[in-house]
């Protein structure tokens, strides 16, 4: 027996990173702006996304969504009420979506041709830890935080908030009864991710949605080559 040390210097999630790079290329060729929505369970990703899809369609954009959950297609059905094509991904126990799942569900999605889309939204599994490590090839990672969750979520889960490109605060319509400290929330997000765009929204009243939609339209134009 000989003992030896073999240097590997290899990314643990190398396989996912490679697949994600392929997806990124694929989205770019198709001209679709892809966003990955991450938050805890119950933040209101689905309600926020449903309203986003509905408003984008009303403005003449083509948008679709993939939604991840451990089980059930409840969220897909809720999102489909927006009129946009939606596909559920059931991970059966896995706490995040990965690039392989996205690729597979895009490949055999009869209702959607990526090249026809302006926007593709990926609603990740509700979890503030693992989704931050799994690149899905998205252009924009959106971290959502609801007023019911506590203003220090960004400090508790810095990895996720630090990896985000935009932040959305949801359920602003009930901010007051919840005793939501807006200044603290904004300060905490900025502490972990300085300079990030923060949208204060309510899917129920539509507050803040105009600004968010203007951002989506602007990002698409900015990224179109």
């Amino acid at each position: 027996m000989t003992t030896r040390i073999v240097e590997l210097r290899r990314g643990i999630l190398k396989k996912n990173d490679e697949l994600a790079a392929g997806l990124r290329q694929r989205y770019a060729v198709a001209g679709a702006l892809v966003l990955n929505l991450v938050s805890s369970p119950g933040t209101g990703k689905t309600a926020f996304l449903q309203r986003t899809l509905r408003e984008l369609l009303a403005r003449g954009f083509k948008a679709a969504a993939l939604v991840g959950d451990l089980e059930t297609d409840n969220d897909a059905r809720r999102l489909a009420a927006s009129g946009a094509p939606v596909r559920q991904i059931n991970t059966h126990g896995i706490c995040h979506l990965d690039a392989e799942m996205i690729g597979r569900h895009l490949d055999d999605w009869q209702a959607v041709n990526l090249a026809d889309l302006d926007y593709l939204f990926i609603e990740n599994v509700g979890n503030l830890v693992c989704p931050s490590s799994y690149d899905l090839g998205e252009k924009i990672r959106v971290a959502l935080l609801s007023v019911t969750e506590g203003e220090d979520k960004p400090l508790k889960y810095p990895t996720l908030f630090n990896s985000a490109d935009a932040a959305v605060i949801t359920k602003m319509d009930i901010a007051e009864p919840c005793g939501f400290d807006r200044d603290a929330a904004l300060r905490n997000v900025n502490q972990i991710r300085p300079g990030i765009r923060i949208f204060e929204t309510s899917a129920k009243t539509g507050a803040g949605m105009e600004e968010w939609l203007a951002y989506l339209v602007g990002e698409r134009l900015a990224r179109a080559v």
Binding site: I5, R9, R10, G11, K14, S133, P194, G195
Partner: protein, 131 residues
Amino acid sequence: MSIVESVTESLEAYPGATVIEVRLRIGALAAVEEESLQFCFGMASEGTALQGARLVVNRLPVRLYCVPCNQEVELPGVQSMHCPLCNAPAFDIRQGREMEIEAIEIDEIDEVETGGGEAGALTAKTGEGEE
């Protein structure tokens, strides 16, 4: 899981070898909890060449490049992405997101003839490093 798969793949160049130690480099900003990792590694490695191997986690602090200070600075934690010297917001993270298998220590079966081929494979693997 990914660690076991990845190491098993690199063991192809060393038939019959068993793994004694796996060394990881994990950034402070990587979403990795060591206790869970150790537990899962134990389960995932069962019945593989990695069974019983030690998992050594080398934690790397976050390092930022601060523009006003014109230097790289190390952060004491992950609660604020601001320069600890001048408090300017920092956008350029130079270290802290790593999730990497740095090296493995293996016990190899001695076979004189296969030496050349293995050395070649080793060189190829070593050249694969990221970042």
